[in-house]
């Protein structure tokens, strides 16, 4: 009798649970499709949101940020920072997820909401796999902060992919300087971002349909490749501003192989060879064919690296800091021309960059002499046009595999020329992506185009500021003088003049030129 008396209580418990049962709140939905250009998660995660005043306060909190705002001007808009994940394809057609940033201007001002133009931006070379340009909360994300302050806070919607192989992408490599993959992924990111925008907190801001393309360094190359891909398929581009990009890949690598070793080359080399090995399977049979025994093991999966900071690659002996080539240069039997071409360059004290070139030789070194000999033999018999008085590619397809890959990915390949207004910006003392070899070559290659299609801007002209961007040129050169002086003060490290000049060279491509070229790009875009 008593036993059954427990039952009413249990029944009540069940009744209470049933009566109070409710549904849990929903979250973002993963996409069912993995087709390229599909937004993988909708709505995307908003990483941060700052109104104009908050954004200004946060950027101004650091000295470098305050300097940046002097160039960009104070934010006119707030910015919502979204992390977009989307599906794309690798260099060999692999289905992979990629990620990136969607930065949306916010605020009541007409320039900050309603239909706004999109800037599709490609970042510069990153060496660490974990790189995520969307993560504005990371103090090291200076490129993300630059484009946010320069474009998003001034009313442009910014879309910037991290690219396959970075962040959470499952692709085991990055298709570095692969025009087809890079441009395809840019378009995939744009498609995904356009899908994402109406589902965000910032839906009061919409796509006006105006599209601008830009990017810096490797991203400058990608921006140009994207402009080409979109124009040849009839997709509207209002204007483009590739910045400091290695557009003329054949000419650039010809220069490097023959001793003009650019700053950062030991990091770029494995990115290039891994990329083209995946795309074309022709760079080497085994990495030791290409790389010295000291570094060959594991180099095919080294970059982008999980070692942080990436400079630890040098201290851990995984890469040499500067010695791209063997200081004992090859003697090519029967060819004094090639032997001389491959010799260590002579240092000219009056030209700091020649000291940089000489540092590209040492022991242990990264790339075998056999590579230099094979490559140089090809270029000697089939030179890039820049070596024989034209701006064209080599007359015939190269026979040396790596050079052939570079030839196919050179922006001159296919003889495309831009139809939409294009600004090519860079600095002529660039020690990493040589201005004359890349920007200069493309300018010469397109010299016959109608006026105002291609505008070339050297922010650091030897002859001093002139023309429509004179204020930007003057600002750049003034900032270089200020930096040189600062580096010699106790606060700046108390460097000698020679060391300060060397530091200036090291900062030139990665830190000094980008904000000025970005400002030039924004100024250029504002005309349309």
């Amino acid at each position: 009798m008593y036993r059954i008396c427990l039952f009413p209580g249990l029944a009540l418990a069940a009744a209470v649970l049933a009566g109070c049962g409710g549904s849990d709140s929903p979250t973002a939905v993963p996409a069912a499709s993995t087709a390229h250009g599909t937004l993988a998660v909708s709505p995307p995660l908003r990483i941060a949101s700052a109104d104009a005043a908050t954004f200004q306060a946060q950027i101004s909190a650091s000295a470098s940020g305050a300097q940046l705002l002097q160039l960009t001007g104070p934010p006119a808009c707030g910015v919502d920072f979204y992390y977009i994940q989307f599906w794309t394809t690798g260099a060999a057609g692999e289905v992979t997820e990629s990620s990136g940033a969607l930065m949306v201007p916010t605020g009541a001002a007409p320039a900050c909401s309603g239909p706004r133009p999109i800037v599709l931006y490609a970042h510069g070379t990153q060496f660490e796999k974990a790189y995520n340009i969307a993560n504005i909360t990371n103090a090291n994300n200076t490129e993300g902060a630059l484009i946010a302050a320069m474009f998003a806070a001034q009313g442009y919607i910014v879309v910037a992919p991290n690219f396959a192989g970075y962040d959470t992408s499952t692709l085991g490599y990055h298709p570095f300087l692969n025009a087809s993959q890079n441009s395809g992924e840019m378009i995939d990111a744009l498609t995904a971002a356009r899908t994402a925008l109406p589902a965000t907190f910032s839906a009061a801001t919409s796509d006006s349909g105006k599209l601008f393309l830009t990017g810096y360094s490797a991203g400058g190359y990608v921006a140009m490749a994207t402009q080409r891909a979109m124009e040849v398929t009839g997709q509207a581009v209002v204007a483009a501003a590739p910045m400091s990009g290695p557009y003329a890949l054949e000419a650039l690598f010809d220069a490097v192989i023959t001793g003009n070793v650019n700053l950062g080359s030991t990091l770029f080399a494995p990115l290039v060879t891994t990329s083209y090995q995946h795309a074309y399977q022709n760079v080497y049979t085994t990495p030791s064919d290409f790389y010295s025994a000291t570094y060959a093991t594991g180099i095919d999966t080294l970059m982008p690296t999980t070692v942080t900071p990436y400079t630890a690659l040098f201290t851990q002996g995984l890469l040499p800091a500067t010695a791209l080539f063997d200081s004992t240069t090859p003697v090519v039997p029967g060819s004094t021309q090639l032997t001389d071409l491959l010799a260590v360059p002579v240092v000219n004290p009056a030209n700091p960059i020649t000291a940089l070139f000489a540092e590209g030789f040492g022991n242990p070194y990264l790339i075998n002499n056999s590579v230099r000999v094979g490559y140089a033999a090809d270029l000697a018999g089939n030179p890039d046009g820049t070596e024989v008085g034209s701006a064209a590619l080599a007359a015939m397809a190269p026979t040396y595999p790596l050079r052939l890959d570079l030839y196919k990915n050179d922006m001159r390949y296919g003889s495309w020329a831009p139809a939409s207004p294009t600004l090519l910006c860079g600095g002529e003392k660039d020690p990493t992506v040589f201005f004359s070899v890349d920007t200069g070559t493309m300018a010469a290659f397109w010299a016959g185009l109608p006026a105002n299609v291609v505008t070339v801007l050297d922010v650091d002209p030897a002859g001093g500021p002139s023309g429509p961007f004179a204020l930007i040129q003057a600002g750049f050169q003034q900032s270089q003088l200020q930096l040189l002086a600062y580096l010699q003060t106790p606060a700046g490290g108390g460097l000698s003049l020679a060391n300060a000049e060397q530091a200036l060279v090291e900062e030139y491509h990665g830190s000094s030129v980008p904000p000025f070229c970005a400002l030039a790009a924004r100024t250029f875009f504002s005309n349309f």
Binding site: D24, S25, T27, T54
Partner: protein
């Protein structure tokens, strides 16, 4: 009014059950209690961890009050077993940490809520003999918690960065109680008690394809005042 009626229904169900089981024993073996629970959560939460979480993001939980229900079984003159639970309260979680993430308010903002179904079973030692009207007691037992109806608020979604689904793992932990029972008549009594338990759960917030987590330890302490009917 409707709320009151709904609250009364379970009580009626208890009493109906009780009436079916009524016995003529001198000392009834079964007791049902109804009263009020005051729950003080005493929360310790790790800072939220996961992708893109600002430094120092933490949580706090507001105390609640809810109707108390219990069933007691007399096991021996000085021992009883109790199963107690409250009507699952809607417990609200608040942001604790920076005043804002960027321009999005956080500290002190209600970010989520969940209901707790938290039955507790005790074995109790009841002091003095059964003829004494005032009898203190001590008990130890186990507490089980299941969280449901878990919702992120609009402000919580804004702070998290998008629509957010919340999961909280179930918890089983120790519990103890001390109370004072006063017999008003053969069938009716009143009781006041203080109980403590330990609840551990992992909160997972799913937003935009990323998951942020926090391990949360509650030391809920409850005060109960209730009336009992024995049969």
């Amino acid at each position: 009014m409707i709320k009151s009626v709904l609250r009364a229904l379970p009580v009626a169900a208890f009493l109906m059950g009780a009436s079916i089981c009524r016995a003529d024993d001198a000392i009834p073996n079964n007791t049902v209690r109804i009263g009020e629970y005051w729950v003080f959560y005493h929360v310790y939460a790790d800072n939220l961890s996961g992708p893109f979480v600002p430094t120092g993001a933490n949580l706090s939980v507001k105390n609640v009050q809810t109707p108390y229900l219990a069933y007691l079984r007399r096991l021996a003159p000085n021992f009883a077993a109790e199963v107690a639970f409250g009507i699952p309260p809607l417990t609200k979680t608040y942001g604790k940490g920076p005043a804002a993430f960027g321009s999005v308010p956080y500290n002190g903002v209600e970010i989520s809520s969940a209901r707790w179904f938290a039955p507790t079973a005790f074995i109790e030692y009841v002091f003095l003999n059964e003829s004494s009207p005032l009898r203190p007691y001590l008990g130890v037992g186990l507490n089980y918690v299941n969280f449901y109806d878990r919702n992120s608020t609009a402000a919580g979604n804004a702070a998290a960065g998008g629509p957010t689904a919340i999961s909280l793992s179930n918890s089983i932990g120790p519990a103890a109680t001390v109370g004072l029972h006063y017999q008003l008549s053969h069938n009716w009594s009143v009781v006041a008690s203080y109980s403590a338990a330990r609840v551990q759960t992992t909160l997972s917030a799913h937003t935009g394809g990323v998951v942020r987590t926090s391990d949360i330890t509650f030391g809920p302490q409850t005060l109960v005042v209730a009336a009992g009917f024995s049969f």
